[in-house]
């Protein structure tokens, strides 16, 4: 018999109370884990998409709000609103290295919605540093052909030479892009002129991705563009933070739920241990008569509390990860996540496990302090008076 054995025996004495207290801790920690993984997954994904854009500045029509800005990142259909004449002006602004127009549209292929993005082939390839997985890239800026993302190729089992249709018009597939982990995987690309012709939007584009030649002068370049053209300009960082502000509002509600869950779990531990101290006050007296120091008693209750934290942490991480994978997309249902694969919204790593376990144990130890202190304050005589 030693301290560990005694603590373990004490923990399992009241099975019902043990299970319910543990369930409380597990649920609290599960909420914490789900929040961490889903929230972090979203942030990572948004940042990745912003990087995938390859631009420092995004030129948009005036009056766009965050909803449209999200679509820039996800490649969703966008109104075509910037005339080509403005594009020419922007390309002439000093400090603009490249300005690549995008026309974001949607088509139905085999009754499934598919993104179609009109681009300038050479400029787009330089901006995205694309590589081709199979087939070839566009030969000329007005070739009647489509280059498709890796996920689309997989979904429809398409290979170079197959026929794709845009708004019912046949367009041959000439190449498949290497998987990039961004929205490019779930989009198809055709030359801008072709897109404008098929969608009947002469002379207009959805937005323009701009690369500046000097990052230091980004702000000045942005102002200059707005001066000469009738457009709005956001930096890539502004784009990310404005998207995060929408997604973040979902996070705040979840954070509150998780905080309440965690707090309730801690109170559950305090409650269970205070009851245990009261129930065992005679045993505490016996242990003192047998030579137990107050330190041993304190340790025994702290260990018991810590075990609730450890076991609750293990269960909580398991449940939380399951919840995040199964329901992550529902919990964070919004315009941004709608276009992503479910698993993409969940970021799960060993850091999160360790953080949660550590947090769970620390929380439990903190919750155990008061009951453990109460146990040491019992005098052996008082304790044995209760029969």
């Amino acid at each position: 018999m030693n301290l560990n054995q005694l603590v373990w025996r004490n923990l399992l004495r009241r099975r019902g109370r043990f299970i319910f207290t543990l369930a409380g801790v597990s649920v609290g920690m599960a909420a914490f884990v789900a929040l961490m993984t889903i929230g972090q997954g979203l942030k990572d994904e948004i940042k990745k998409q912003a990087q995938g854009l390859g631009a420092n500045l995004v030129v948009t029509p005036k009056g766009w709000c965050a909803y449209e800005q999200i679509s820039v990142l996800t490649g969703e259909q966008l109104p075509s609103a910037i005339p080509m004449s403005e594009l020419a002006k922007i390309r002439a602004v000093p400090g603009v290295k490249s300005a690549v127009p995008h026309l974001n549209e949607k088509t139905a292929f085999r009754n499934q919605p598919v993104l179609v993005i009109g681009i300038w082939p050479e400029e787009m390839r330089a901006l995205q540093k694309w590589s081709i997985d199979s087939g070839r890239y566009f030969n000329s800026p007005d070739e009647r052909a489509v280059v498709i993302g890796a996920a689309i190729a997989k979904q429809f089992k398409l290979k170079p030479g197959d026929e794709f249709t845009v708004r019912g018009k046949p367009v041959p597939v000439i190449g498949i892009l290497r998987e990039a982990g961004s929205k490019d995987d779930i989009a198809t690309f055709i030359p801008l002129a072709l897109a404008q012709q098929i969608y009947d939007v002469q002379d207009k584009v959805s937005f323009i991705a701009v690369q500046v030649s000097d990052l230091e002068k980004m702000e000045a370049t942005s102002l200059k563009i707005q001066e000469i053209a009738n457009v709005a300009v956001v930096t890539d960082k502004q784009l990310v933070s404005s998207v995060l502000s929408i997604v973040g509002s979902v996070g705040a509600a979840m954070q509150a739920v998780a905080a309440v869950g965690v707090l309730a779990a801690a109170f559950g531990i305090v409650n269970t241990l205070l009851t245990a101290v009261h129930e065992r006050r005679r045993e505490i007296g016996i242990m003192q008569a047998l030579g137990s120091t107050r330190r041993t008693l304190f340790l025994a209750f702290m260990l018991e509390s810590g075990l609730y934290g450890l076991l609750g942490g293990i269960l909580g991480v398991t449940i939380g990860v399951l919840v995040a994978y199964l329901f992550g997309s529902y919990l964070t249902d919004n315009a941004f996540t709608a276009s992503l694969h479910q698993s993409q919204t969940v970021a799960f790593d060993s850091g999160t496990i360790l953080l949660t376990m550590g947090f769970s144990v620390c929380l439990a130890l903190f919750a155990g302090l008061y009951p453990a202190y109460r146990a040491t304050k019992l005098s052996p005589v008082e304790a044995m008076r209760h029969v």
Binding site: M1, R9, R282, I286, A289, L290, G291, T293, V381
Partner: protein
């Protein structure tokens, strides 16, 4: 060298304060020789148990000095006092006070652990066998008779080979058969040189002791050798 193992000098214990002040033990002085068997007798609520708790270091006196096997209890801090309880004293209680969720064997083992001495692995089992409880080692206290529980309690009290056994109504909850068995056992321990101090109501039980101390209103009323 004096042969006194316990020495009390004008020991008092007061509960409460002011008008509500109650003296449980009042200026008791006594000496207990090593290897003697003392019975403390007297009416309920007159300070017998309190006296035993003071001697055993479970409680501290309001005034006076208690010297136990050379160390003055008043000068010890809480941890040192715990060590004295664990190593030098074995307690036996009226209600056995076994840990209800631990087996007989574990009840003895927990005393070995808390007393902190280094003991061979089989010591706890050896003690139970010595008291005829070898086959009950893995039983919970609730599955044992009163007499068996009290023998487990004595095995536990002896776990760390203390010189002194302090017993509060050890036969209070036993039938006459178990009582006789227990008294035989105590007789053997007495012969083996242990110092036994027991609080009891029962004159028959007390008659086995060498020395009878009568307590009334927290004071020693009579202190005499048995049979004199």
């Amino acid at each position: 060298m004096s042969n006194a193992v316990i020495k009390l000098e004008k020991v008092s214990k007061t509960y409460g304060s002011g008008a509500a002040e109650a003296k449980a033990v009042s200026e008791v002085s006594m000496t207990v020789e090593r290897g003697s068997w003392v019975a403390i007798m007297g009416p309920s609520g007159h300070g017998k148990s309190t006296l035993l708790q003071l001697i055993g270091g479970l409680d501290r006196p309001s005034a006076g000095r208690i010297v136990l096997d050379g160390s003055e209890l008043g000068t010890l801090d809480a941890a040192e006092l715990a060590a004295v309880r664990g190593k030098k004293i074995g307690f036996v209680f009226q209600f056995f006070n076994l840990m209800p969720h631990l087996t007989a064997l574990e009840n003895v083992e927990i005393a070995l652990w808390l007393g902190g001495g280094a003991h061979s692995k089989g010591r706890a089992m050896g003690l139970l066998e010595r008291f005829g409880l070898g086959d009950k080692a893995h039983h919970l206290p609730s599955m044992l008779s009163g007499g068996q529980q009290q023998r487990v309690a004595i095995a536990r009290a002896l776990a760390n080979e203390p010189d002194i056994l302090l017993m509060d109504e050890p036969t209070g909850n036993l039938d006459s058969g178990s009582e006789a068995e227990l008294l035989t056992l105590l007789g053997e321990l007495h012969k083996a040189g242990k110092t036994l101090i027991m609080v009891t109501h029962n004159p028959t039980v007390a008659s086995h002791a060498q020395r009878l101390v009568h307590v009334k209103d927290g004071r020693i009323e009579e202190d005499r050798c048995n049979g004199v």
